[in-house]
Amino acid sequence: MAARKLAITGGRVIDPAQGIDRVADVLISNGKIDEVTTGSTGRAPDGYEQIDASGKIVSPGFVDLHTHLRDPGQEWKETIVTGTRAAAYGGFTTISAMPNTDPVQDSAAVVDDVVRRSAADGLIRVLPIGAISIGQKGKHLSPMGELADSGVVGFSDDGNPVVDANLMRQALSYSVELRLPIINHAEDKKIGAGGVMSAGTVATRLGLAGVPAEAETAMVARDLYLADLTKARLHIPHISTVGSLAALRSAKEHGVDVTAEVTPHHLTLSDEWVYGLKGKVPLTVGSEAYDTNTKVNPPLRSRSDVDAVIDALSEGLIDIIATDHAPHAPTDKVCTYNEAAHGINVLETAFSSVFQLVDTGKISVVRLIESLTSGPAAILHKDLGSLKKGFYADVVVIDPGRNWIVNPDQFESKSENSPLTGVELTGRVVTTIYQGDTVFDLSDVVASAGAKQ
């Protein structure tokens, strides 16, 4: 933990948990937040190192509830080292580790290993999520108490829905005492079996089997009723359909203890991206179509679904943004659409892509930052995601005017599976500070890239 004293001066400090949105200085010492000043002096106090953030936004470090680190088991796709670097470059100072590793995080032994190696090798904080069922097979509950003792922050069989309604009921019920959320990938795989993208006009034109939105909605509705029955905490990952939102609204109004997340891609990309023209609808299907980097589960939905999740996030019906960062190797993506693996590499593009929603006036920057910081921290019940005195000094500096073109060759992630390749985005994290240490600074990256030439 850094002993250094640091002053981040002159930026627009946005800390939704404290209701702060003002030009101020953030003072840090011993890896913790000392103070957010009432105004900015533009200078660092004596003995403090200075980061000049004038013209920039200063926010708590981002917290991601949904990260696939692939470690252990698929280290050719990502590791704790590369995944946490990618996270830091994207402004994240806390990420989760989804349990669909090999072996699955369904025992204290595996979770302890992830925790230990994350602390040793990770650039930022990693919080493990445990499996709901042994091997994520949906048959028998994992030792949830043991996993909770090892520090998991929730339970999920992500990728595999809990098909058996009774197992889901028991998992919810058992988790009540542990005070941890159940995170169920909601998808009835019998509805639209074999589907590889969202059902609709695009799927029909491309001749790809479609999954109807109702495959998600039906299981979201089931889970909400079971959460009501058990009075448990349910967290709905990557919510993506108009129907799911209606069910969520009804459940929240009814007092069900439920939260929901949406991914950057479901907020910004529609199924029209499968045409391979960055969302443009072509006259004729060309060989750029069937862009496997758009294959993800839940699938990219219709434009009306995209508009609905934006509105729901803006009003708070959807609580938070989570990345569902899912790195894949070229062998999983340089193939036919049917063969391609599900998943998008998100960490390093997450903020910039959703910041486009601020630029187009669809969501306020304060709400956006809340959904990346104090929102997820509240679901974790952790003292994170805020610049309160005494909290870890996890801070990001954002340049709202900075343009860049996404180039996965330059990702810190081990994988490059992004549909945003070549897309120009405005607004970028330029500095990430984790417990008082600078773990990412864009000017260093740019300088070293220049030095290579």
Binding site: A199, L206, L283, T284, V285, Y290, Y337
Partner: protein, 361 residues
């Protein structure tokens, strides 16, 4: 890597006017050299007619006693079939051989795919052997598009998943044109598994492009969810103007062409149909239903037929059936396609060729 070819404006989703290259608004389309044939949606009506004109000459060649020509002698064509097929594979092989090309057949069971080689590596391997054209049949929609991005050879889509089957559509257009001539305003009824049929998708676009009115009929379980029986599709669907009949009688009523599609056993197993018997009863094409069509209406089927299911034996082999003609025309049409792709810089009209290689034609 698909050629930025010309396209006519009757595909409704378009927004890029620069893709439409017409010659002074006369409707005559400037045909750009074409590298691949992936679907018919990026061919103009003019380009299609050129191909069909070329197929006329090819049909004559294919019916000669000595039908060997040197038109694309020295070219190597590989047929790569990842699904079982008799008629399409043999048709391409015959077409290539008549034109003098060397044709090599690869099937998934005899290829390195059965040893776990990826499609990418298979294509790269074949590419390294200096081939001129790859004829691809694959169970995954879009596979020929993927291959086209990874090879310099011409790629011909011989059927991809549930997406497209452009040479089937060309031979169907050719067959109908030979009987009916101008298709403008003619009614084409397509009856069968629309949801899973690449023939249906390509033929809907192809016949519409030639000015025909297309109507489909099938159980509601075999159309996309966003379509409704009893409606006409809007332009936003990509199949604008397609009529979805409420029942089969409505579809075949006054039709000039009735096309039955193969219904597969797996549709019954997958729960789309109660039984093939019920399908036959409610959607099968038989003499009673053909009687609702116009006098002299053509009966077509892309094959292979399930006689007694989607088509009765009586009409399948009756006077209105052109099923065997379709197969015969398939060779001629595929000759035209291979000639067009393998003889770059030449007119698509074989008779107008200024080359020596096409001499006999």
């Amino acid at each position: 890597m698909t050629n930025p070819t010309t396209a006519v404006g009757n595909n409704p989703i378009g927004e890029s006017a620069e893709q439409i290259a017409t010659n002074g608004g006369s409707g005559q389309v400037l045909v750009a050299p074409r590298q691949h044939l992936l679907d018919l949606d990026d061919l103009s009506a003019g380009e299609i007619n050129d191909l069909l004109d070329s197929a006329e000459g090819m049909l004559e060649i294919a019916s000669r006693d000595n039908r060997k020509t040197p038109a694309i002698r020295g070219k190597t064509i590989i047929t790569m079939f990842f699904e079982n097929s008799t008629r399409t594979r043999v048709s391409f092989e015959q077409a290539g051989k008549i034109l003098g090309a060397d044709v090599i057949n690869v099937t998934s069971s005899t290829s390195s795919v059965s040893k776990g080689e990826s499609l990418l590596n298979t294509v790269k391997t074949l590419q390294a052997m200096q081939i001129d054209a790859l004829v691809v049949r694959h169970p995954h929609s879009g596979a020929p598009y993927f291959i086209a991005n990874h090879t310099d050879a011409s790629v011909v889509n011989a059927g991809d998943g549930t997406h497209a089957h452009p040479t089937q559509s060309l031979l169907d257009l050719f067959t109908v044109r030979n009987h009916i001539g101008d298709m403008t305003g003619k009614k084409i009824a397509i009856v069968g598994d629309i949801l899973h049929s690449r023939v249906a998708r390509s033929n809907i676009l192809a016949f519409q492009k030639m000015g025909a009115e297309v109507t489909v009929s099938c159980p509601n379980t075999l159309i996309p969810d966003e379509w409704s029986l009893g409606s006409t599709l809007g332009d936003e669907t990509g199949f604008g103007g397609l009529n979805l009949a409420r029942n089969v009688d409505e579809a075949v009523d006054s039709a000039d062409v009735v096309m039955a599609l193969r219904i597969q056993q797996e549709r019954q197993d997958g729960g789309h149909l109660p039984s093939l018997r019920e399908y036959s009863d409610r959607w099968g094409i038989n003499a009673k239903r053909m009687a609702l069509a116009n006098d002299g209406a053509l009966l077509m089927h892309p094959g292979p037929m399930n006689e007694g299911v989607e088509i009765s034996s009586e009409v399948a082999h009756g006077v209105q059936s052109v099923v065997e003609e379709q197969v015969r025309n398939g060779v001629a049409v595929r000759m035209a396609v291979l000639y067009t792709l393998c003889a770059p810089g030449k007119s698509t009209r074989i008779g107008n060729s200024d080359s020596n290689s096409g001499g006999e034609a």
